[in-house]
């Protein structure tokens, strides 16, 4: 797995302004291992520019296909957005820990934003496959009416007491500000449901070697790539 693997772009599309979709075909063994919460380290550019890999959560959509939604903003995402069907994309992984709905969850509430969208969708797929009801509070400018979200996922406009009362588990996935908003909402509502925060933290190495992805928790600093990506929401500082 340390040697670069290669996926092939089978579909690419600009979905909305600033949002691009890629469908990648890869070895079935690797695709099978792409569980919710696990990520690929994608090589972008020519190796010098951009220099570092880009970690992306991916959504498995068939035995050999992965979907990747890319918010175009920087050099790495810009390079990905120029990939066309037939183009190779090198990567290593998947890495990281699989996210699963807590045992006995019947109603899963997801909250997140664009950086967390691939992970949110992968987790929603997993929950729906287990007959768990799923609701999503999406923060940001993405048009969620545009068939990005599975029809079985209920879209909510606000992470409030009503939503938290409905749910029996919560995952907040995305920019750290979104995760902290969820923590605040949980506290305000006095909810005691199992709740997890998955802060999107830039990764350099992805394997715990560089110590560059620190997440502050009440139990001390943790590495997102090794100890995460999910942390107890109450534990996050």
């Amino acid at each position: 797995m340390g040697a670069a693997e290669t996926a092939t772009v089978v579909q690419s599309a600009a979905l909305q302004p600033g949002l691009f979709g890629l469908r990648l075909e890869a070895d079935a063994r690797l695709v099978q291992a792409c569980e919710p919460g696990r990520y690929l380290m994608l090589s972008v550019g020519d190796g010098n520019e951009p220099y570092l890999p880009r970690p992306y959560w991916v959504r498995r959509v068939s035995a050999v296909w992965l979907n990747l939604l890319v918010g175009v903003g920087g050099a790495g995402s810009g390079w990905l957005a120029t990939r066309r069907p037939g183009d190779p994309v090198e990567f290593f992984g998947p890495l990281g820990t699989t996210l699963i709905p807590p045992p006995r969850t019947r109603r899963l509430l997801l909250s997140g934003d664009l950086p967390g969208l691939n992970c949110l969708l992968a987790l929603a797929d997993r929950a729906l496959a287990r007959d768990i009801e799923v609701a999503l509070v999406f923060h940001g400018a993405v048009d969620t009416s545009a068939r990005l979200i599975p029809p079985d996922v209920e879209l909510l406009t606000e992470l409030n007491a009503s939503a938290l009362t409905w749910a029996d588990a919560l995952y907040a996935i995305g920019d750290p500000s979104v995760v902290h908003t969820a923590k605040a909402a949980l506290r305000t509502a006095g909810s005691r449901i199992p709740a997890f925060g998955v802060p999107h933290v830039p990764l350099a190495c992805g394997v715990g070697a560089c110590y560059g992805c620190l997440v502050e928790t009440r139990r001390g600093p943790k590495l997102s790539c090794v100890n995460g990506p999910a942390f107890g929401l109450a534990d996050l500082s």
């Binding site: 340390g2 190796g47 570092l52 394997v207 070697a209 560089c210 600093p221």
Partner: protein, 315 residues
């Protein structure tokens, strides 16, 4: 023709470090080796140089700890590490299974701290050598403050030489007034090799925030952006020392490694290039053997320093 790529550091000493090939990992970019054991066949690596380790655990710098730069990365991890006690308890027992020599990178805020770590490392059979980090630009005490001054660098090297039989590699900072003078000083004090360069001090400003991007303020620059500087400094140092020189700074391909070797390096280290492609370290080693075979080079000795003026055997 079989290519001779093995390298020995500390030849003639009680515990020489012999590597099957000259390609090592660079400290701070390869963890403690075990992080990559699941991904790579580490028996194909020359040696693993660990993350720099201090006497006590260090929390390191605040986030953000790195930022991508043109053809490189600026980092300030601040020597975040679990401390020598935990390293010896948790990592050292696993090192023999990696099937590659492990060189412990050590750092400290005083000579006494360096000495204490070296003494404790001396007892660990799995440690094949020590690399003295006297060149970290991201700590307020020790680090590059030691490595910038030939007298202080020699003082630490001598103190360690007195307490350890392990091969000593002294990692040099490019941020010294004269890197060659520091190299000569540590060689005279007992270093078995010098490695260079550590990162170059740098700064990225977050323009919208109107402050330094990194939590530490400044950081150390690595990657292809610094390669010409590193090759030049290896060139300068290799001419004035007789111990092996280990070159590093932006090596991602065999051609990069060859530049260092032709400038006088006996071995090289691969650092942040492994973040995007973890097998870079193995690929460079194997491509080096292939390159030598294609060019009719039987031994690294034939090309080491061959770019220097007056080098015999230049094509």
């Amino acid at each position: 023709m079989s290519q001779e790529t093995s390298v020995t550091i500390g030849a003639g000493t009680p515990r020489p470090l012999t590597m099957r090939n000259p390609v090592m990992s660079a400290a701070g970019t390869f963890g403690y080796g075990v992080e990559y054991a699941r991904l790579l066949d580490l028996s194909r690596v020359g040696a693993i140089v660990t993350k720099s380790t201090t006497v006590r655990p260090r929390a390191g710098a605040s986030m953000p700890r790195w930022v991508e730069t043109p053809s490189g990365v600026l980092n300030a991890i601040g020597l975040n590490n679990p401390g020598i006690g935990r390293v010896l308890r948790e990592y050292a027992p696993k090192w023999s299974s990696l099937r590659a020599p492990v060189v412990l990178s050590i750092a400290g805020e005083s000579v006494e701290e360096y000495v204490e770590i070296a003494q404790r490392a001396e007892e660990a059979e799995a440690i094949a050598g020590l690399e003295l980090n006297v060149s970290c630009p991201n700590v307020s005490e020790g680090g590059a403050l030691f490595g910038s001054d030939p007298v202080q660098a020699a003082s630490i090297t001598g103190a360690l030489r007195a307490v350890t039989s392990l091969p000593l590699i002294v990692k040099l900072t490019p941020n010294a007034a004269s890197v060659a003078e520091v190299a000569m000083a540590v060689e005279a004090a007992g270093a078995d090799a010098v490695s260079l360069v550590n990162t170059i001090a740098g700064l990225v400003i977050d323009v919208e925030g109107r402050r330094p991007f990194l939590g530490n303020g400044g950081g150390g620059l690595s990657g292809p952006a610094i390669r010409p500087v590193a090759v030049r400094l290896v060139w300068d140092v290799a001419r004035v020392v007789t111990v092996p020189v280990v070159g590093l700074g932006g090596i991602a391909r065999v051609e990069d490694a060859l530049q260092f070797i032709m400038a006088g390096a006996s071995a090289v280290q691969v650092g942040s290039a492994g973040f995007a492609k973890p097998d870079t370290i193995i690929r460079v080693a194997e491509d080096l053997a292939d390159w030598m075979a294609r060019h009719g080079v039987a031994s690294l000795d034939e090309i080491r320093g061959c770019a220097m003026p007056g080098c015999e055997g230049r094509e």
